[in-house]
């Protein structure tokens, strides 16, 4: 707003000129117009996409004969059309939770090893290799999961069923290959490792050296240094890193679609084949869906969008708070 008023006053005072970076030359004005134009264009495009999607979703939901949030079925082509996101929401959240439970401790461990334990010669290549995992396309993870992970996990599933079946969660009630939410969770864990690791590593490297050296000078062991200064300092960083990973896990499509055996049932027995996630369901149903079916899928996609937005918003909040914290230290 300050810049618009500034445009009306030809001889801009130097202080304002500094703020907008305008020297009053033609090139600057053109550049200002171009960048402002692109900004507005972007907002317009985003807004029209949002309006379009919400409109399509709203038409679909208004004709849904089931309850959009509680129906355990997806049949928009049926007569009457019945579809609901309960199973998808459950599957998305459960598989992501499994992924987080597995990935976060491992990622923090790797990050601590790279930042505090590994010799420098080893740390750099190791960090590089972990980051490289992020560059593998998700469909490759999917194929690897279907061909390697699924057959190998059958043994683990039987073992879990035998010794942890009493937990109800690990009780295996159906015979079948391990194309389950649990397997998907493991695969997602591998896929989100790099982002969680690299953000945590950056945070751990920013721990003020003075804190660590002070702890060492007081006779703390290396583990005590980590426990007393590194982890408390990095806690919010770890949380925000995990949130970023969670965001990725929620939206993963092809790897899940390749590995999971989808079905519209909610079961806490995570070792049984079945379940479904938002992204997987869209990928699977889009091809054969008619126009109304696509609207229904768009509606489910909007729910995923809101879910991801919430997670990323939470991550940003935490990161913003951490920034102040580290700013005080700098």
């Amino acid at each position: 707003m300050a810049s618009t008023t500034q445009l009306d006053i030809p001889p801009a005072p130097p202080a304002r000129r500094g703020r907008t970076g305008s020297t009053g030359r033609a090139g600057d004005k053109i550049f200002l117009g171009l960048s402002r134009g692109s900004g507005i264009l972007l907002l317009l495009i985003m807004a029209s996409i949002a309006v379009f999607l919400s409109y399509r979703a709203a038409t679909a939901i208004s004709e849904d004969e089931g309850n959009f949030f509680t129906t355990f079925d997806w049949n928009p082509a049926g007569d009457p059309p019945v579809f609901g996101i309960a199973v998808l929401l459950f599957g998305t959240v459960v598989s992501s939770i499994i992924a987080m439970v597995i990935a976060v401790p491992i990622a923090v461990g790797i990050a601590l090893f790279i930042s505090h334990y590994a010799p420098r010669k080893l740390a750099a290549p190791l960090a590089y290799v972990v980051d490289l995992l992020a560059a593998v396309p998700s469909i490759v993870y999917g194929i690897w999961g279907a061909l390697v992970l699924v057959p190998y996990l059958e043994g683990l599933n039987l073992w879990l069923d035998q010794f942890f079946g009493w937990t109800y969660i690990f009780e295996k009630t159906e015979v079948g290959v391990a194309r389950s939410l649990f397997t998907v969770g493991i695969l997602l864990a591998i896929m989100i490792l790099p982002i969680v690791t690299s953000v945590s590593r950056e945070v751990f490297l920013q721990v003020p050296k003075m804190n660590e050296e002070a702890a060492l000078a007081l006779g703390a062991t290396r583990w005590e240094v980590i426990r007393l200064s590194v982890l408390p300092f990095g806690r919010s960083g770890i949380i925000s890193a995990s949130m970023l990973g969670l965001g990725r896990a929620l939206g993963e499509t092809m790897a899940v679609a390749t590995v999971l055996s989808p079905s519209f049932l909610i079961s806490l027995h995570v070792l049984n084949p079945g379940g479904g996630t938002f992204a997987q369901n869209i990928a699977a149903k889009f091809g054969e869906a008619d126009a109304f079916g696509r609207d229904a899928l768009i509606a489910s996609g909007l729910v995923l969008f809101v879910l991801t937005l919430l997670v990323n918003g939470a991550a940003r909040l935490i990161i913003a708070r951490r920034k102040e914290y580290s700013g005080a230290n700098a």
């Binding site: 997806w74 049949n75 082509a77 049926g78 057959p151 159906e174 015979v175 079948g176 290959v177 194309r179 679609a257 390749t258 055996s261 989808p262 079905s263 519209f264 049932l265 084949p273 079945g274 699977a284 149903k285 091809g287 054969e288 869906a289 008619d290 126009a291 079916g293």
Partner: protein, 378 residues
């Protein structure tokens, strides 16, 4: 010394690359389950003389069912070899996408696993200015029930046991109901793992229609494109189901016959109540399609299949795929090509190549009407 090691490393890497490259290439090769590439060349030249290219010109876009992909590939190859300057692109996405594209007017014709629904016909009137969309049965084929059970090479089932297996009511391979149909076969005490399609599919719908008609007491579900029964496991596409059946011991699944042939999967013989169990073959499927009646009105030739046929050697679990066109009001620039191409596809030659790809020709009586309708397209 160091240099040598480097070279050896490099050689190993090259070797690994070559091996994986070869694997990738062979994988691509086996994907083509028509199995006719080798003799296709001769057929093309022989067929070329009889294909009439009158009025065909330019580019024709078509889209739809992947169930008839392999048939369409053969037709397009033969047709384009005979008619130079004509280009046909069949995008084998899915029936749903094909019909959507047809009703948006972006394709000359669409391929579909199931006949147009009334509302889709209503939509088509916007594109077919003076007419409406009609269904032409062009490709038939058996839906094979493939199974994988160590130590069992042949298996006979009837509609009722199939329904119970896919509904997970029969859970073990040595169930008395299965044993009664397979005297002398040693069935293991193993869990049955039924596989179905994860996405909506015309193949699923046809299986549902068959089970609903032939085993009404055991299959209470509506015949829809989506898999209706709870339980069992899902895989994506016919190829996905076939590869799961291939790898998982104790599994059973359904897919077009060509997938069973290309993956070397044993198929179930169906006991229809006739004299002897029927094998899933192109000829047997044609015999069953011959029992079908035309249910479409006017120029529409949608078929009503008789799933309960007991005719000798008629394999009742069949799928008929249609080409969807405008009966009148086709676009002027594609009409010639559509007519010419479909005339070839419905011709004796065109129908004959179907058996090579694991499909079944449309029986002569119905096919005559298809040809009449095609020649009257405008």
């Amino acid at each position: 010394m160091k240099l040598q090691r480097k070279n050896r490393l490099r050689a190993t890497a090259l070797g690994a690359l070559a091996v994986s490259g070869a694997l990738v290439l062979t994988a691509c090769g086996s994907d083509d389950n028509t199995g006719t590439d080798t003799d296709g060349g001769n057929k093309t030249s022989a067929a070329a003389s009889n294909i009439k290219c009158d009025g065909a010109k330019g580019q024709l876009r078509a889209s739809g069912s992947s169930a008839q992909k392999n048939a369409m590939d053969l037709w397009v190859k033969n047709y384009m070899a005979a008619c130079s300057g004509v280009e046909i692109n069949y995008n084998s996405s899915s029936s749903g996408e094909g019909i959507v594209a047809f009703n948006q007017g972006t394709v000359g014709f669409a391929g579909s696993d199931s006949a147009l629904k009334p509302e889709e016909v209503a939509d088509s009137k916007k594109i077919c200015k003076t007419g409406q969309g009609i269904n032409l049965p062009m490709v038939g084929g058996p839906i094979a029930i493939g199974f994988h059970l160590e130590g069992v090479d042949s298996l006979t089932l009837d509609a009722s046991t199939l329904a119970k297996i896919f509904d997970t009511k029969i859970k073990k391979w040595n169930d008395p109901a299965i044993a009664a149909l397979n005297k002398g076969v040693e069935l293991p005490n193993k869990a049955i793992q039924p596989f179905h399609r994860s996405e909506d599919s015309g193949t699923t719908q046809n299986l549902g229609k068959y089970l609903g008609a032939a085993a009404a007491d055991d299959w209470k579900y509506e015949a829809e494109k989506k898999w209706p029964a709870p339980g069992g496991q899902a895989a994506s596409g016919s190829s996905g189901v076939a590869s799961q059946v291939k790898t998982v011991d104790g599994s059973i699944g359904y897919f077009e016959l060509s997938y069973a042939a290309s993956q070397g999967i044993t198929t179930v013989d169906i006991n229809t109540g006739g004299a002897a169990p029927v094998k899933a073959t192109s000829e047997n499927a044609s015999k069953a399609i011959a029992a079908a009646k035309i249910k479409g009105t006017g120029k529409d030739l949608a078929l009503d299949l008789d799933y309960t046929t007991k005719a000798e050697g008629a394999y009742p679990l069949v799928l008929v795929t249609y080409e969807v066109v405008c009966d009148a009001g086709n676009k002027a620039d594609t009409l010639g090509t559509v007519k010419s191409f479909l005339t070839y596809a419905a011709s004796d030659e065109g129908q004959k190549v179907l058996t090579e790809a694991g499909y079944a020709p449309i029986p002569a009586e119905i096919n005559t009407k298809v040809r009449e309708t095609i020649s009257a397209l405008s």
